[in-house]
Amino acid sequence: MKPTVLASILIAAVFATPASAQSIKLANVAELSGGGATVGTNWKNGIDLAIEDINAKGGVLGRKLEVTHADSQSNPGVARAQVQKALDNEPYVLLGPGYSGSVKVTAPLAAEAGIAQIMGGEAAELTQAGNKFLFRTSFGQQSSMPKVAKYINDELKAKSVAIVWVNNDFGKGGRDSISKEFVKYNIKVAADLSTEAGQADFAADVSKIKSAAPDAVFVYVNEEESARILKELKRQGVTVPLVGETTLVGQKVVELAGDAANGARGHVGLTTDAPVELIKAFREKFVKKYNYVPDHNGLKGWLAIYMIKATTEKMGKVDSKGFADALHGFTITAAKEPGILMDATFDANGDIDRQGFLVEIVDGKQVVKQVLPKLKN
């Protein structure tokens, strides 16, 4: 046989592979480098682990899942370009990004294409713009901040609080939401400190906090900056309670901040330390594969894939255009789909309702102090 004929047959065989044609194609755009690398890497690993898990059990409706990963470099401009590129390949569902700013600029593209987007952003405004294709994997700030403010008022009895926030969509959304809640409880904002993403030196910020002498400090910056400010707060001897959200008490923060993380408290929608058997099993599986304990973003990535599985099985077909409608108002129970880990309900805006946790870092570990039930049962 002539070499050219042989080559043609081989090429034809490669392009005609039936497994590739039958697989369900997903596209993930995440923060795999830059300031959000911790977020994106955990999210990606969670996705890969869930896909491996599902494919090993025969896939979804008998079809394997397949994902392509693209790096947004933690930059909204790059994220937009990557999402446009991903949508051009007509994925079944778009995954990511994790940063609210990147979600904000990419959501209109996915909506225009009629593709559901399951993302990790937490800024309150994301699901309040009437986008019918956007879904959360974690609580939005409008759900979590009232719980944090209630804890600061009821448990810590704080009358004045310093707010440290990162100057981006995520930080500003959190700062605005918590400030509103503080007004309800008559809590005074002793200092309102904006910081920059990627900021390395927090000496001056902490010095300002010390001057303001608040009863507690609310820290709402990304993971790496959380670690840096926790170290600086310890270095300058700030002893008042430090309260935040998932980004203050995540596994990566504990790893980076070491002893300085002890005593930090926060509300987390997802934690691998939760007293839930299915989450413990997930954690074991993740650690076995990646050799480190994931933070909540690893859980979010995993859950995104199981949201796709449960919704597709509910529809009984792989229908990209009908996916968003099927997920709105859908309650996925852990009894029926163990991969979802905890019962979760998705409302008409794409917001999620499920259990939450109040945790404290004790001896370098997250300790769940309180389990907060679903808002609507």
């Binding site: 795999l32 480098s33 830059g34 300031g35 690398a37 911790t38 890497t41 100057n167 400190l193 904006s194 910081t195 920059e196 990627g198 390395a200 030196d201 000496a203 001056a204 910020d205 010095s207 300002k208 010390k210 001057s211 790496e224 670690a227 840096r228 170290k231 310890k234 270095r235 300058q236 001897g237 990566k252 790893e255 980076l256 901040a257 070491g258 002893d259």
Partner: protein, 291 residues
């Protein structure tokens, strides 16, 4: 007042590290007209070399020795022989551009071969406070300041009080005459590159526990040190030291008393003012060249 003291000490500690890096800028410029735009990445890399050694099982002290040794080999010897020497004969600008490319290469390599995520890095100074004027001051700030000052004093003593230092200065000021009087100019230039590599490794050891080990650390450090060198005077070591300390303190005071949002702009405003009103820098010497 007490806050001012805290801010001054923290600013001086950070500024001292900028000063060490800025001194490297001036050393390379004086001896070989090299503007090293990869200087920030030179500070980032040794921390990863030390972490690599620790991951391979070396204790921290040994990892420091290995990290400094490898830095001198890669960022001193190899940098000069493989990049500076071949490029310098084409002029200062091609070399400057080549160092920009090197910066990207080092940054992406650290990300590729280690991690895109930040990693914790141990401190050579123990945690805790000491009392100064009745204020609890972090040992880490004092330690960083002390090591940085020691390094600068040591370098100044080497340059001003030893024969090798005098030969280095002669090689920097007039290489032709230095050669005539028997100074081994090439060896002196190589020594400068090795000293720069040692200084960046030291800066890496001091700053990484605060900044955390991350591939992108060089961007901030390189920019701060470059501004420091220009503000202080690019052709004077004492200028680089003063510039580094000044930038560290100004940055901290600006964040506390001007605005945390505009803190990054204040050193740049200082840079613009210096370029407009004293282009040679605070301690720099005006240079005139005939074509």
């Amino acid at each position: 007042m007490s806050n001012l003291l805290d801010l001054l000490i923290a600013g001086l500690a950070t500024g001292a590290i900028y000063a060490i890096v800025a001194v490297g800028f001036t050393l390379l410029w004086q001896t070989s007209q090299t503007i090293n735009f990869a200087q920030g990445e030179f500070v980032m890399l040794p921390a990863f070399l030390m972490l690599g050694a620790m991951n391979a099982g070396a204790p921290f002290w040994l990892a420091i020795v290995i990290g400094i040794g490898l830095s001198m080999l890669l960022l001193g010897l190899a940098f000069k022989m493989l990049l500076v020497d071949p490029m310098l004969r084409h002029g200062v600008l091609p070399l400057a551009i080549a160092t920009m490319a090197l910066a990207i290469g080092i940054k992406e390599s650290a990300k590729q071969f280690y991690s895109a995520e930040a990693s914790p890095f141990p401190s050579i100074v123990p945690a805790g406070d000491i009392a100064i004027f009745g204020r609890a001051v972090a040992l880490q700030s004092i330690g960083v300041l002390a090591v940085a000052v020691l390094a600068v004093v040591g370098l100044t003593a080497l340059l001003n009080r030893t024969s090798i230092g005098h030969q280095m200065q002669a090689a920097a000021q007039n290489p032709t005459v230095a050669r005539i009087i028997g100074v081994p100019v090439e060896r002196m230039i190589m020594l400068t590159f090795l000293i720069n590599a040692f200084l960046v490794a030291l800066a890496s050891l001091l700053i990484t526990p605060i900044y955390l080990a991350k591939f992108s650390n060089g961007e901030v450090l390189g920019q701060a040190a470059f501004i420091a060198a220009i503000v202080g005077g690019f052709n004077q070591i004492r200028g680089a030291i003063a510039g580094g300390l000044l930038i560290g303190v100004v940055d901290n005071l600006a964040a506390a008393y001007v605005s945390t949002q505009y803190r990054a702009a204040v050193p740049l405003l200082l840079l613009i003012a210096i370029i407009l009103f004293r282009p040679q820098g605070i301690f720099g010497r005006a240079e005139e060249r005939t074509v």
